[in-house]
Point group: C2
């Protein structure tokens, strides 16, 4: 764990706090450009010496872990602002829009973390978005808005999975980031709605 | 590129071919257990010496590349057996079942390749499944089975993305692999069907 000047410890000096913030900012930018960015690249982008960087972060994994921690805090702020009450379809649409920002914006950090950190460390991060979506999915199933013939966990995976798929497409330049929330919501709402009994099914 | 005894070259000796096959088999198994498996681990599992392994594969990237090439050939065999004619929903269901096998079975290889090889190298692999799905999606749109209000490319991303999401869930022990094709198909068919005009939409 990176030093964070937590309770009980000696208070961090202001310049140390500033350096840590600059390093984390630079790391987010560098990793977005190149998930393999080195500590040297990041130190240079942050305008600090390598010795200073190593003074705060023992290793690349340590720095990526700290970036992930800050990213999760920012994600929580975005998610906490979403109104998840009312009609489940509308609530899910709002949550998808906010979650998309997170998935899209922090994709590079997650990618770097996926290479550097144990898989379990990333689950905590995915769970933030996932828990909230699952809660709306379950509410929508209880109210009959969403289908009850498939597990709530799978429907949640559907929503999260489509956001990640859209983020990949966007990063690869095959999908405009601005189009993604609309496409995700339109697809997800259709996927989560109970199958229409009246339509003549023709599958074999 | 690994040596493959191609046209124009000196024919490979039988024991060299056997060794390469054993190394590739071992690599698939080792990488499934640990995406970071070393060349030493793989040589040991293949029952060959490290010198023999290095004689065929200059580096870990070289070996992972060769594993990926063989995996793609196997994927083509599976996909070529799928009947993609007739009703688009039924054809998509059959293709999803076959593609799921590939995505699930070769997930570890792709994961290792994703860490070791350039991103472009993996796109060729994803494209095999993707191209076939997109072709059914487009046919289903022309026949009015699938929705025309969202881009065919996005609907294809939806199908592929859900398979990958299911593979992740299955690998994490949260989804039984045997349940996946049914869940994917049920979700995908609902997502790809044109929105029902008659249902009273209540989204804001």
């Amino acid at each position: 764990m990176a030093s964070a000047g937590g309770s009980g410890g000696r208070p961090q000096r202001a310049d140390a706090r500033r350096n840590i913030a600059a390093i984390l900012d630079a790391a987010v930018l560098c990793l977005a450009e190149d998930p393999d960015a080195s500590l040297g690249d990041i130190a240079q982008a942050a305008g600090v010496g390598r010795v200073t960087l190593y003074g705060h972060f023992k290793s690349r994994a340590d720095l990526v872990d700290a970036v992930l921690t800050r990213t999760m805090a920012e994600a929580d702020e975005i998610l906490d602002r979403v109104d998840t009450t009312g009609d489940p379809s509308a609530a899910l649409t709002r949550l998808v829009e906010a979650s998309w920002q997170i998935v899209h914006q922090f994709r590079a950090v997650h990618r770097a973390a996926g290479r550097e950190l144990p898989a379990e460390r990333l689950h905590g991060s995915h769970d933030r978005v996932r828990r909230r979506i699952q809660s709306i999915v379950e509410r929508g199933r209880r109210s009959g808005t969403f289908r009850g013939d498939l597990p709530a966990k799978w429907l949640t995976t559907t929503v999260v999975g489509l956001m990640h798929a859209a983020a990949e497409e966007s990063a690869a330049g095959r999908l405009a980031a601005g189009d993604a929330p609309r496409l995700i919501s339109a697809t997800v709402l259709a996927a989560l709605t109970a199958p229409d009994e009246s339509s003549g099914a023709s599958s074999g």
